[in-house]
Symmetry: C2
Amino acid sequence: MNNEKIRVACLQLAPRIGDAGYNRQLSEERVRDAAEKGADVIVLPELMQSGYAFSDLSEALQVAEDLSGPTVALWTQLALELGIVLVGGFCERLSHHQVANSAVLIQPEGEVTLYRKAHLWNAEKLVFTPGDRPPPVVQTRFGNIGLMICYDLEFPEWVRLPALAGAQLLCAPVNWPDAPRPADERAAEVVRVQANAAVNRMFIATCDRHGEERGVHWVGGSVIVDPDGYPLAGRLRIAAEQMLMADLDLGQANDKSISARNHVHRDRRPSLY
Amino acid sequence: MNNEKIRVACLQLAPRIGDAGYNRQLSEERVRDAAEKGADVIVLPELMQSGYAFSDLSEALQVAEDLSGPTVALWTQLALELGIVLVGGFCERLSHHQVANSAVLIQPEGEVTLYRKAHLWNAEKLVFTPGDRPPPVVQTRFGNIGLMICYDLEFPEWVRLPALAGAQLLCAPVNWPDAPRPADERAAEVVRVQANAAVNRMFIATCDRHGEERGVHWVGGSVIVDPDGYPLAGRLRIAAEQMLMADLDLGQANDKSISARNHVHRDRRPSLY
């Protein structure tokens, strides 16, 4: 691990449904901007490449790409050129009739790690094939980084897996559809991220999106949370494009002790669960 | 189940270490007061009967009682007389050299259900024998009520058990030691309760304590949370004695759907965890 702080950026952007060319260009511009501002790890939203609100599977198939497609190629080129870890979501073509809601983590040396969303939200069940592999934890030059997508975060059992596997930072591209909620309360989506961080003493960087899409608006809840569960950036949700940044000492996530005799992972009693 | 609202009260009191007589009297006064105000379910703090900050096991043994002791006798009499469900924590004598950090849920018909804290906090490990039975879920005249204690709440796997077993309301006596935290943030202990409620769509009533004890102060974070994860009472922590009350339609906790195609429990993928 390392003792220096790394700079993490979440780019809350507004992709356009079905317009991968525009979305690639937008991601490139903003990733270059964040790297210029010193970001080491940059997180893009879920389905950044494709947009979210597909009418059906055939529309998703039209925009889907695989790992050899132009989006992962561009993002890999950016990671190599800028010396960054880049995380972003895309609509992955699995076959002529199957797509996944996927994300990649690309290292500055060019290595690509894939994850497919395992817990699908609402109409996603009509479009995407769910993943069945656990969230990866990747040893990068900046630290150990885990990866999952949006609704996955609402299953604390799922978040445990990368935490137990040594993730210091969990990066989570999300698209959080907005819904009525108490005006004076922090969005429950963000609250759940805070709790996930605290019970695992792990950093979490969650990147939401912006841009109305077929009647869907978004929470605008991008947030970077520390291992105590408190936000370092994104305390207030902002339903607009924004770039969140925070400097993290990932070594803090190695210390799972929360008292002289308590350790958030060793205190678990898995034989009883 | 029922369609009428029930009234839940959390009595954030200040027990005195080792003074079971005083603590019983205090609990009786405040329980009668809450019942007069219409409470159906009343939650007292963890170790209400004994106080918390024991120097060692022998001090705890001096105040410990079993289920036939005067505290459970008093509380049972109150539940019967007032027609309430009463939940409270006590130092339970297991043998001449063992105690547990326990809680009881007593029904208005007099039935007593016991739970022993399974996850011990800090110096508790030097005093208490941990429980090894899952949190009970009790069918009461007011609805299905689960029971656990304080640090147990920081293990989402543990909270899942009563939720999956049908708890509509989880009652949790706690003693949350205070510690430095951001002044403008809700205490992370409360945040974790909110998340536990939301991911299970279950009400949670958490009763903290007050009263400095051997240098320990308390969060004062008693809170009653709805199945969306938002506080119905206790939005702001108050480090003082207080009685929180909220009227709950426990039937809301039967509906685990959060979209046309999502169900917080059926969306779990236990074969992958």
